[in-house]
Symmetry: C2
Subunit: 121 residues, 2 copies
């Protein structure tokens, strides 16, 4: 299992939570969990990398799976360590959309973010 | 003092937190508090509208005032009810920048937000 170092500190960034009326939320924590599951092939390992209990990681995935028409994560059999988990096509799509929304928002807001930063102490 | 009804429910929206490395954060709660202070001219009343204790509202404003070069909120004297509070020009600028960043991000992400919404249950 690969351990990923923490992302490099950025001068400023946007943390975006998508709030869907009555349907739940999708934010940076869930996105990071999905990304790590895709990379390490295990919910437990992904949660561990984020300092999250197995129970908490599972709860977040169950929330996501219940929120969308199709599950975003599913268990897979086999492999050297027994069962694991992977993103479904829907999971990959949701993660890609989320990342794109954040990237577009950062690009669109860059000038105003700089203006606000100039007002900081 | 005017009471403002809760904003109408939206089908989806972006909740954006600006994370400034080492300098703090600016998100929807602080923005709403600033907006309500501008409108009701009182930190206590603004906090009350948000179901927030006076202490908590003050703490948030002190955090904001310490975060920027110039205070965002200042006490004012006089008026029928005695002292109140108002946004400084810096406070008005920060609030306007924040609102513009959110609006731009929503506009930029509209298509992808719709695509994600289509995947919801």
């Amino acid at each position: 299992m690969t351990r990923t170092p923490a992302p490099p500190p950025e001068r400023h960034r946007l943390s975006i939570r998508l709030v869907f009326d009555d349907s739940g939320m999708m934010g940076p924590g869930k996105a990071e969990l999905l990304e790590r599951i895709a990379r390490c092939g295990s919910i437990a390992a992904a949660g561990r990398e984020m300092g999250m209990s197995y129970k908490r990681a599972w709860m977040l995935i169950e929330t996501l799976n219940a929120m969308f028409r199709e599950p975003l994560v599913e268990r897979v059999r086999g492999g050297p360590g027994g069962g694991g988990a992977e993103l479904t096509p829907a999971g990959q799509e949701v993660l890609a959309l989320y990342r794109a929304i954040v990237a577009e928002a950062e690009a669109a807001g860059q000038e105003r973010l700089e203006a606000m930063r100039a007002l900081l102490k």
